[in-house]
Symmetry: C2
Subunit: 437 residues, 2 copies
């Protein structure tokens, strides 16, 4: 049984705060090793990549074989069965449709002083997507990262995916193909991040790097940040389910277990007004857990981080949810829309009994790269915005400068910036010498 | 005279690349000191803040005096003269109007499968703004950070501003008042960032921290990132002016100097098709420089980083501009709109001769917190978006789950995530047992 808390218990607040503060990941000390890897890739380029790929992935490469050739991709992709391909295509299409809605609009207007103002969105020129190798090599993650970049209009899209022992994942390559990826390199780890950030003889540097990875990849992303843009550094995944009323305990239990099977550090939380439902769900979890192929992982997660919280009413549930700021929030209640309106800090909300979080991981359309570890308080999931940037635009007419300039000169003087004021004053002098056009 | 480059010179590319790669700031090794300060504030709270304020700002405080009282604010604000107040009010009003245009809209739609999808924007609950003390205590910076937060709907807005020797900046306090700031604390440095990120007995923690600062403040922001959101870590400021045709050399020279007077590490670049104009501008800079109150700073910046580049045509100018990805881009050419369309990587563009960058620093409306050091390739200036986050929404009808679920199950199987698939399958079984509602 996991921790069960009840808001009516006198020690609830202390125990809830302890749960919130609980660190679910060791801050592995990999920074120094990663700094050396990055320096080596910067200094020796392709040679360093080949050497590290030999060492870490047991794969002998030469610089001309860092990149998958079109024939190699075609051969791998041909291995994917018809149904798997159809599933990937449906997911890709839905993800594309959702993200197309996200494209922001440029704006421009002229105010009554004669200042034409606005902004313009433009895509990042080149983006690099990291895809982990081995067990965590998820084709869905390729779709979720690459499609928003393509929708945003990124010109050049690169993937790095390690192939330990030379074994590639055909579904990952097909997902890359369906997403319109231009270049795929069979390298991984911090060395792949370094190559994408700084470039080598073979790999041209990109401007933005996204995608999940292990502690080395995460540390490398932190270290190259500034040189290139990065997405978030994701922590372990988490789900919060708020349930009340007539719900199926087995559906709720499976949703909790779907989170738990990701990772021993993942966290599944159920908040309910009904102690009987809480008890029933816990019972189903215990019954199903041993039958899962990833029982060891899911069991550790549920034992160490699983939590059931009994609350007095749904207002209390929403208040706790806002303090948890969950990555995934599932609302299995009679009126999920009303409850959703109260839940203001969450990465993604899944409403009603027919929206299991698992369908959102793959195919409902919204992105599955979401803020973890309470960062939904201040950040958002991956979107086309991560591959766009905004340039502000201003054009002042002579009349607008005459109207606004004196205030700017006054503030420049207050801040002791003389040339600032003078650059405006000289223009105003000229304007006064002749009738404004 | 600064560096003058000409794209027709045989060594142009090598020299341009050297300029791009030039580091303009020493990576001061302050990380360890900052880590100790943060740990101390977390451990001892207000007591640590008071002790450090005594040491660094020569100011004796007790916890009850960390915060400016309403009377203290009123007394300081009363010192601001009428014209300075009017200038701040005009700037605040224009900044507010510009940022109100930026508010993004929520979206929701139902697709033909019966999936209701969309997203919702909500504000960060509490934001903290850092304002440097002493010389760099800029009231304009308060407006540029605080007003977007207020427009976004942030509930609680906090400022930390050190008052060395107990001396406050009345304009800063007035700017805070005009922006609707709720709490002002007279603390600075890494300790202020730590207090806003982790909270103390007196200061309740915030969710997002923005604002400029010295190397200690920047290092502290990096270290608390993840616990709270932060804005960018800004480098030295820079301007690129592209000039052609009949331009006033003195206006261009003053715009270059306005950038240079910020900081000895600031960079001013002029690109022109006209060697004669380049020569004339350099001459005016040399003439005006010694007359400036900040001649030492501006002189060092111009000598060490100032650059004039002679190009064959404006297409070449736009291509170089895109490689520089300048923070500020001023287009003083006959048809600035056409040229702006070619310049796709820039923080802010100022079009035409009557839009000096200095007016944008204060009062044109767009934000003056902009990406530096080539990061306009992948990031944007401060906006209301920095104080909002997006929650994605999905609600599937039973029919939508029936249509999408099987593809998700297929992909879950391919990724080896059994409970994911099972959470969908159990629902589909139930749907098949009875007619869909």
């Amino acid at each position: 049984m996991p921790v069960t808390l009840n808001t009516s218990d006198p020690d609830f607040e202390a125990r809830f705060v302890r749960m919130l503060a609980g660190k679910r990941e060791d801050a592995t000390e990999v920074n120094d090793a990663v700094a050396m890897i990055i320096a080596d890739v910067r200094a020796r380029g392709d040679a360093a990549l080949c050497e590290m790929t030999r060492r870490f992935d047991r794969l002998d490469l030469t610089p001309d074989r860092l990149r998958f050739s079109p024939d190699e991709i075609a051969a791998q992709v041909a291995k994917v069965g018809h149904e798997d391909r159809a599933a990937l295509e449906l997911a890709a299409e839905r993800i594309r449709a959702y993200h197309a809605h996200q494209m922001p609009e440029d704006a421009e207007w002229t105010d009554r002083q004669g200042a034409t103002l606005g902004w313009r969105w433009t895509p990042v020129s080149a983006a690099g997507l990291y895809v982990p190798g081995g067990q965590a090599s998820y084709p869905s993650s390729v779709l979720m990262n690459a499609i928003p970049a393509r929708v945003a209009g990124v010109e050049r899209l690169v993937i790095c995916v390690p192939t330990p022992g030379g074994v590639a994942n055909p579904m990952v390559l097909l997902a890359a193909q369906l997403s319109g990826v231009d270049e795929i390199y069979r390298i991984g780890g911090a060395q792949a991040i370094a190559a994408m950030a700084y470039g080598t003889e073979t790999i041209v540097a990109v401007d933005k790097i996204t995608g999940p990875g292990n502690a080395y990849v995460a540390a490398a992303k932190r270290q190259v940040f500034g040189r290139v843009g990065i997405d978030m550094i994701a922590g372990p995944s988490e789900v919060l389910i708020i349930a009340a009323g007539d719900q199926h305990p087995d559906w709720l239990a499976l949703d909790l277990l779907a989170q738990a099977e990701h990772d021993a550090d993942a966290q599944s939380i159920l908040i309910t007004t009904d102690p009987g439902l809480g008890h029933a769900v816990a019972g189903v979890v215990d019954r199903i857990l041993p039958t899962l192929s990833r029982a060891r992982i899911a069991g550790a997660s549920w034992r160490d981080h699983g939590t059931i919280i009994i609350v007095r009413d749904l207002d209390e549930a929403a208040a706790l949810s806002n303090r948890i700021a969950p990555e995934h929030l599932e609302l299995c209640v009679d009126d999920p829309e009303s409850l959703a309106a109260q839940c203001v800090h969450a990465g993604a909300i899944f409403l009603g009994p027919y929206t299991p979080e698992a369908v959102g991981d793959y195919a409902s359309g919204p992105n599955h790269v979401l803020p973890t570890a309470r960062s939904a308080r201040f950040s958002s999931g991956l979107s086309v915005m991560d591959f766009l940037k905004r340039t502000t635009i201003a054009r002042l007419s002579p009349g607008a400068l005459a109207a606004i300039g004196p205030a700017a000169m006054r503030l420049a003087a207050a801040e002791g910036l003389q040339a600032h004021g003078e650059s405006i004053r000289q223009r105003l002098i000229r304007l006064n010498e002749r009738p404004a056009p």
